[in-house]
């Protein structure tokens, strides 16, 4: 198969040996349509897509849990999967992991239609998670590794490595019941990375962790990213998502609200926010035609401009009113701002 490809297009030889995706590539060459896709792959940098979700819909009776959802997750990126409770995040993740199947639409993982065969390449930390209460820690981890087809010897050395990494060596032979909730969380995280998956799906990984452990886990996630792993990361914590994510998707009521590269998303919201530090000019800030909202922070004001209002006009008015301005900066909206604007402060987080 490889030889056949060398004749047509020698460039692929590298890809072929690197990705190990022989069948797929071989088929590609055989039809016109696939050939086109093959060239697209080469020139559009599309082979870097780990996960491709296309128009998926999942219904439970009358209720649509996910409706017509599409997005791509690029290889080696941290992808933020955001949205309020009941938005359809867990349902979507379950479809990606192969626990359930979409009614319509398709999900491609590593260039193949998703199936239970691919589960060994995914590490999934569900939001609702637990451990066997009466089983020793290393036995549980061994079991979870075995379910991912990791040979016991390999599993044992990785278990030691990760327990060391999280400072849990001394708990190795304890039962899960003896561990604090935070420790159990870390054990659950270890169980999702033991088989060194290409794709990690972390659903609320920080819930129940104290700040030190949150830092610890953030470091580990950064390490995994630097090793080229793709990480899908679902959370309610917008600040963490902002620090961590390259790309995001925001879901609400079963549908996508916004999505794309984090900086594009932010840019698309425009610079309608101003950080202001000034003495005086208070009456200008009451002008409803210019200003929608004023938030007072410790030493500065955050101003949300009214629709179609001009920042220059505001600055002009402030100067005219005799205010002394020490800071006037147009700023991008935070993810939190976008979340609240798009979904509404009334929605429970």
């Amino acid at each position: 198969m490889c030889r056949k490809r060398i004749i047509i297009q020698p460039v692929i030889l590298n890809n072929c040996s690197k990705s190990g995706n022989l069948n797929f590539k071989a088929n590609v060459i055989q039809t016109d349509k696939s050939l086109r896709r093959f060239w697209i792959n080469i020139f559009m940098d599309e082979q870097n897509v780990t996960l491709r979700v296309e128009n998926i819909t999942k219904r439970y009776g009358e209720f649509a849990a996910v409706e017509n959802l599409s997005f791509n997750v690029s290889a080696g990126k941290v992808f933020g999967f955001l949205g309020p409770n009941g938005a359809g995040k867990t349902t979507t993740i379950r479809m990606i992991v192969g626990i359930t199947a979409p009614d319509t639409g398709k999900i491609e993982l590593f260039g193949e239609k998703v199936s239970s065969r691919m589960q060994d390449k995914i590490g999934y930390l569900p939001e609702e998670r637990g451990l066997y209460k009466k089983m020793k820690i290393f036995e549980q981890l061994r079991y979870f590794a075995a379910l991912k087809d990791v040979p016991q010897k390999t599993a044992d050395s990785r278990i030691d490595f990760w327990l060391e990494r999280f400072n849990l060596q001394e708990w190795k032979k304890k039962k899960a019941n003896d561990l604090s909730k935070g420790m159990q969380q870390k054990i659950q995280f270890i169980s999702t990375v033991l088989h060194e998956p290409e794709l990690l799906i972390l659903d609320e990984p920080f819930s129940g962790l104290d700040p030190i452990n949150v830092e610890n886990l953030l470091e580990v996630i950064a390490e995994l990213k630097s090793k080229g792993k793709t990480i899908i990361f679902s959370t309610h914590l917008m600040e963490t998502a902002e620090k961590l994510c390259d790309d995001i998707i925001l879901m609400n009521k079963s549908r996508k609200v916004v999505g794309g590269k984090l900086r594009d998303v932010k840019a698309s919201f425009g610079k309608n926010r101003i950080a202001l530090r000034a003495d005086g000019g208070d009456e200008v800030l009451l002008d409803k035609t210019l200003i929608a909202k004023v938030e007072r922070h410790a030493d500065e004001l955050e101003i949300l401009l009214a629709e179609n209002a001009d920042a220059q006009k505001l600055l002009q008015n402030l100067i005219q009113s005799g205010a002394r301005i020490t800071k006037f900066e147009l700023v991008e909206p935070s993810l939190n701002d976008i979340f609240i604007e798009k979904i509404g402060a009334g929605t429970s987080l």
Partner: protein, 450 residues
Amino acid sequence: MRKFLAVTKREYKKVVFSRTFLVGTLLAPVIAAMFAVVPALIISVKSDVQRIAIVDQSGNVATRLKENLSLDKIQTKAREAAQDSLKNIDASQKERIETGARQFAGSFAFIDYDASGKSVEQIQRELNGRIQENQLDSYLIIPQNIDSAGVGVEFYSRKAGDFVSNSALEDALNDAILSQRLADANISESKLRELSRRIDLEATPINEKGEEKEEGGGYASAFVIGLLIYITLAIYGQVIMGAVVEEKETRIAEILFSSAKPFELMLGKLAGVGLAALSQLAIWIFSALALLTFGLTQLKAAGIPLSMPNITISSVLYFFIFFLLGFFVFATIFALIGSMVTTTQEGGQFAMIPVVLLLAGFYCTFPIVRDSNSTFSFWVSIAPFLAPLTMPVRIAIETPPFWQIALAILTNALAILGLVWLASRVYRVGMLMYGKRATIPEVWKWIWQS
């Protein structure tokens, strides 16, 4: 397949290395032995020598009675009773206790009392007084006209509840009076014994072809087989349900489902627990067989020959086949219930359904023991859900034609297929449903939706 084996291995180890398994494996034979031995042990605690006064107004019973109550006579009787009890394994509990009593009766000491010329009331008053002063335990008044109808011997004792001594006394008294009556009628005792020898009814079953056949495992062992399957299935069904509920309660299910197919996980669980149940049964059965062989050899050496119940390899094989069928039928039901409820307590209520089914199967074994070839026996031994209990019992009593056994295997294999089909639709959805119990209409929808 590797994942299936990983699940099986974990479930097997979890059950077999648990304290409950160890205790159960060791304790069950002990409990079984206790049912057989304890009643005998309890009455074997010998009572003290009973001090008795015999007032013989008829004048010709006392001598014989005293002779019958002598240590020698009592011991001879005890030996005979011991042999009886072994021959008579099927005897009811009451009979067994009576034979036991004869084996272990205590001895008597006779207190002299001169009753000449005293009225019955006076005798009673005096002897009661002596009992109160603790010079006497009991006394017996044999009336003058012992042979006339409606006249009884009066027995007073402060240990009137000591049925062991009482039954010995009663035996001895009856023997004495009988001897006296025989003597009165000029019949020698040896002649009588010859004339009144009992005939034993030896029940030899005949099979349908009209041939005499060896009695299979015996009725007692048929009953034990039914009980064993019933108990094991009920216990291990609950074990399965507990394990399923644990994975649902602790939310491990979702992690597991992201690693292997739910169906594979469920079957792995059933296989692991099933193997554990088989291990326990095998330990019980083989140790019981070993003990039985040892015990029978010992008895034979002691001069009491008893034949081994007729256990063939095919009957053991059938036993395990039907046990496995039953296990998969009931374990799947228990697993399904576990996946639909939210807590073990809730599961306990719904576990009534399979338990009642099991119990129905167990009760059906009673009519089968009485007549293993009736129409009723035929139908219940091929019915799904019932056959795993009833068919092995039928086989133990008299092996039915092979097509009936095959039919029973087939109906239950089909039942398993149906249940497994149901499980493949309900298990995954149920396991991922948190917070509330699945209602019947919901489950109905899952079955037809996916």
